[in-house]
Amino acid sequence: MNSATEETGDRRQNKATARILAVLSVFASDAAGYGVTELSNQLGMTKNMVYRALTTLVDQGYLVRDPTGQRYQLGFRVLELQNENTSEPDFRELCSPYVDKVFQLTGESVSLMVRAGDYAVFIDGVETRRPGTYRTQIGALRPLYANASGRVMLAFSSDEEIDEYILRNSPMTLPASDRELAPGALWTQLHEIRQLGYARMLRPGALPMLAIAFPIWDMDRRLHGVLSTGGPNERLAVEIDHLMPKLLATIDELCHRTQLYAADTQQWEML
């Protein structure tokens, strides 16, 4: 065999192995199991490729067929893929690849925020190089009423908690405008967010800005944090409607992962 053929053979093997790992990665979610067609659609691979990968993974013990023999589930040998000296990924680490994915989809700044009392705090993000952008400063605090991410955090709190929050924080002065946000206006937005399942917020001004903020859930359907993207309305409004299905699918995929964990606020639970 000459070196060119060897290289082609290696490349083919590597691609096949990469496909096997990609198929196994799909099972890193809270879904009960998968069939060949479902995996083929999700991964964009032919059914034949998926079937071959599944066969190898069953041979290796990382997957098992369910009792019906029709679907595949995680196998017990996955338990061998642990190292007691490596810590579990935290919320920021779980979200990090999805912050990048959302940035690739929209081309606009992306931020990841968590709640800290009456504030939302930036814990990760990417800033676009395009002109006109939201700032993403790791560690910076924003009042919950002041931006789309904070409002998502409020929207998925109980009505009593929201009333208490408004009492504690009134008057709610909006940054950069000195305008006051009336409690009624905030409530209207929070109801909209609850109905839509995410926030879509237009900030008026000389440069109107559009922000979309998605709740990221934990295993008890409590909020881990909020992932948002946004930019000048003139630029983003044109694209956002056709981007929404892809954005929602990306967030859904992320939540299938974050829902494997309890939010960090439950510190007494083994994580």
């Binding site: 790992l21 809270d30 996955v78 642990q82 190292n83 083994m270």
Partner: protein, 287 residues
């Protein structure tokens, strides 16, 4: 024929990749190509390709920008996904939290998985000092109190099968004192209804494990109180722990099908898991 040999090659490539991944899982520090190649007796080029494939698929990552590698989030997520398939993992959470709060101790829930016990739930105690227990730890049924309290509840026929399984697959992990001494310990555990294990860091105190049985009386899990909870030789357990056991057993009896292990359809001898033996506070023996 050609197609079959191509498939065999692909499988062997995947097999090397998984060998490398499993090896990284067993090692206490991040590893580079040379070390893995020497330990696994594989060519450096094969190891290098395997590492790149694993890194690109997010199974491993570079440790602090060095040429050494450690596990990335994906294997952790796969394990999490596996735990979520155990109904006990979800259903026991409020009980484990209440028990940890009531006793102040770190508590764990271990599920039976064939001839192994798997830690699938737990809550940290409210004290400042606690045991950094982790989910996913797997032990043979004679290793440590949490596992051996399950073993003690098995029938004589099952015990004989278990010993054959360990003799065949894990001869190096047989009990130091031999199976006969082990059988005596198990009888004591069965009579008392719980297992204890001395705590080296709290002389005179023991950690305690209690079995959880299903509606047919078969052991399916155990609760472990990792703390110093019992003066050595004491025979009375904390009523909160017994209440947690009763609550779990009622929950399981009400919906036995839901609480079946996800691998209940695979015979115990078919569930072969090669994790390193434990290095936790509990180091074997059933007390």
């Amino acid at each position: 024929m050609q197609a079959r040999s191509a498939r065999a090659v692909i499988n062997s490539s995947a097999s090397h990749v998984f060998d490398v991944l499993r090896f990284i899982c067993t090692w206490p520090v991040p590893l580079g190509v040379t070390e893995i190649s020497r330990q696994l007796k594989l060519p450096a080029s094969t190891v290098y390709r395997a590492l790149i494939t694993l890194e690109e698929a997010d199974y491993i990552r570079r440790y602090r920008n060095t040429p050494r590698f450690e596990l990335a989030p994906t294997p952790h997520l796969l394990n999490r996904a596996l735990f979520s398939r155990f109904e006990l993992h979800h259903a026991s959470r409020p009980l484990m939290r209440s028990l940890a709060q009531a006793t102040g101790e770190t508590v764990s829930l271990w599920a039976r998985l064939g001839w192994f016990a798997l830690r699938i739930g737990g809550a940290f105690g409210s004290r400042d000092v606690y045991h950094r227990a982790r989910l996913g730890e797997t032990r043979l049924l004679h290793e440590g109190a949490a596992a051996s309290v399950i073993l003690a509840e098995l029938s004589e026929a099952d015990l004989a099968s278990y010993r054959r399984f360990v003799d065949k697959h894990f001869p190096e992990r047989r009990p130091d004192a031999g199976w006969d001494a082990q059988a005596q310990d198990l009888r004591l555990v069965r009579t008392r209804g719980f297992a204890t294990i001395p705590l080296p860091m709290a002389p005179g105190f023991d950690a305690v494990a209690i079995p959880i049985r299903n509606e047919s009386g078969h052991p399916v899990a155990s609760i472990m109180l990792d703390g110093p909870v019992l003066r050595s030789g004491e025979a009375e357990l904390d009523p909160c722990a017994l209440q947690a056991r009763d609550d779990l057993e009622v929950m399981i009896a009400l919906d036995p099908a839901a609480f079946l292990s996800p691998f209940a359809h695979i015979p115990a001898d078919g569930l072969l898991i090669r994790t390193p033996s434990t290095s936790d506070t509990e180091t074997g023996g059933s007390g």
